[in-house]
Amino acid sequence: MNMKLLVQDLEFAYTSIPVLTGMCLEVPGGSLVSIVGPNGSGKSTLLKCIDRILTPKQGMVAINGKDVLRLERMELAKHMSYVPQSSVRVFPHSVFDVILMGRRPHLGWTSSSEDEERVWDVIDLLGLEEIALAPFTELSGGQQQKALIARALVQETDVMLLDEPTSNLDIWHQLDVMMIVAGLVAGRGITALMAVHDLNMAARFSDRIVMMKDGVIHAAGSPWEVLTPGHIADVYGVEALVQRQDDETPLVVPMRQISRNGARPAYRRMHASPKGGKLSSVL
């Protein structure tokens, strides 16, 4: 445990237009690092490149100094797990079966009772016993997300990558999922790298934050270093208030849009007040 994840000079492109360029980042062992940034800034792509779901054009990914991009995929799956944002739900696997899939790197064609025992342990840990035998296809967003986290957990890897685990969840489930992830990092020394949209969730739970814009890192450091009104304006094109909360974490309140990449803010297009309010004059 406590494995350090290192990414160096990672580059990726779907076509000739680069999506990621010169990505370098370090996730200290046993810490939670969040990647934030606007839609299309390359957060998910970065995670997929690190886990080799997409093949990077160049660069290196290392866990404790070992280059994982050269490993066999099955070997890589023993070191690194990936929690996707959502999952194909065509065929009715039970939740138990979906979680058991996480044992795949450790087992062959059959699963032993020991493997099943680990699945039951994780079901107990995440409190999934009510839905363990239900079809995965019929779960709500929050339950699905927890089942996918459970699957990554039985994989028993040192590094866990999470792609927006709280998107589409209500605030109860958002906190539930974030507490689980933070608990795993603190309790088991898992090294977690997480793409996330909610800046306040990132601020509250992460040790460090990486802010991306257009496939490059714009800022990285502690939540206070990264979540400044300046960075937020530069990257998101939004004027924001950053307040200090009782527990010393920053709280970001988006106030109004400023133009970004030449796009005019909606209030100008709609002839409304910058702070929103009623748009009765146009609608």
């Binding site: 995929r73 990936y82 009715p92 899939m101 064609w109 409190g127």
Partner: protein, 373 residues
């Protein structure tokens, strides 16, 4: 690894006890479901053995089920069981090959449909989605109309059907290899090829004489009469290679139905498995199709029935799809042979006529939940 949860108060302790109880209940339920699934598998195997015995008794010569089993067993254990020469002729050489052919064909269609639905993540996929049957049909059309074939003699139609079925799937698979083997590419390529070869066959039909047209049409309806002991050799070899190969990929297929990203992150080379599975399944389907003609329905429906009855774990689903496919096909064939006296209705037609109502019943009744829950 435990919950890491130390009950502090009495309320917490009570809550923990309730959860433990629920967990234990769930585990017991899970064990019960698993054993039911195995029982079900054993049940349908028994059912198919009974069906074979019963179907052999149907026909002009009167014989009992026990006589059938005795005659069949006597082939393998001549010291224990005895048999009559007439019975042997009727059972072993006339009636049994057709049924055995039906079992193999149904089994093959069932498992191919099952694995194709898994790797393409599409419940509509079947051996025929990829245009394999229209390729084979075109091969038959060429042989029928021009008399041009790769091999002459009794294998004229069969060899041509096989060659064009394989050509079709090779085209799709290589196209996918060039453009990346995502499930969308494969399905789109399959549908396109399907249309292409259907049109070519229709073009041939347009210029064909009545007799040639009849040959093409009969083949297109699907029939099990082509099976005889002399033709089984190749059939057995291909089955013995392809079936275990597909079954051995069951775990990878499970992961791929949840999504390629997940499968890759769990160590499965998704694209490679997809290509391998498609190639192996294509060979199997092409082999069957060139003997039976178009019996498309079994490959689509058997996996769905199996999934409703036994769940989505491919380790059980693949054999269950095969066995249900075999059962469906031999039962339909038995009805087709016997329902209106000496006239034999083509198997393909009867399979759909009987299978569709049964399938719709299961769809309406079972919805997406497992049958047992």
């Amino acid at each position: 690894m435990t919950g890491g949860y130390e009950p502090r108060s009495r309320a917490a302790q009570h809550h923990r006890e309730l959860r433990n109880k629920k967990l234990e209940e769930t585990r017991r339920e899970h064990r019960r479901l698993m054993s039911r699934k195995f029982t079900f598998l054993a049940f349908i195997i028994a059912l198919i053995i009974f069906a074979v015995g019963y179907i052999v008794t149907l026909g002009p010569l009167d014989l009992s089920i026990l006589q059938v089993y005795e005659t069949l067993l006597a082939r393998f254990f001549p010291s224990v069981f005895s048999m009559d020469d007439v019975l042997e002729q009727v059972v072993w050489n006339i009636r049994f090959p057709r049924i055995l052919g039906g079992i193999f064909a149904g089994f093959g269609f069932g498992i191919c449909g099952c694995v194709m639905q898994a790797v393409l993540k599409n419940p509509l996929a079947s051996p025929f989605t990829l245009g394999i049957s229209s390729g084979a049909h075109f091969g038959v059309a060429i042989a029928a109309v021009f008399g041009v074939a790769l091999v002459g003699g009794p294998f004229l139609l069969i060899a041509n059907a096989f060659a064009f079925a394989m050509l079709c799937s090779l085209f799709i698979v290589s196209l996918a290899a060039l453009k990346g083997a995502t499930s969308e590419t494969l399905i789109l390529a399959g549908i396109a090829v399907n249309y292409l070869f259907s049109s070519l066959s229709q073009l041939m039909a347009y210029f064909a004489t009545d007799e040639q047209l009849r040959l093409m049409t009969t083949w297109g309806m699907g029939d099990l009469s082509a099976f005889s002991w002399s033709k089984f050799g190749l059939f057995f070899v291909i089955f013995a290679v392809c079936t275990p190969l597909l079954w051995s990929k069951a775990q990878d297929l499970n992961l791929m139905t949840i999504g390629d990203d997940s499968a890759k992150s769990l160590g499965v080379e998704a694209n490679r498995v997809r290509m391998l599975t498609m190639i192996v399944a294509s060979i199997l389907v092409a082999t069957i199709v060139c003997f039976t003609g178009t019996i498309g329905f079994v490959g689509l429906v058997a996996p769905h029935m199996a999934r409703m009855l036994i769940g989505a774990d491919h380790r059980l689903l693949i054999p269950a799809s095969g066995i249900l496919g075999a059962f469906l096909l031999i039962c339909s064939d038995a009805v087709a042979m016997n329902i209106i006296g000496p006239t034999v209705i083509p198997t393909g037609i009867m399979t759909a006529l009987l299978g569709v109502p049964f399938f719709l019943y299961l769809v309406l009744k079972g919805k997406r939940k497992e049958f047992w829950q």
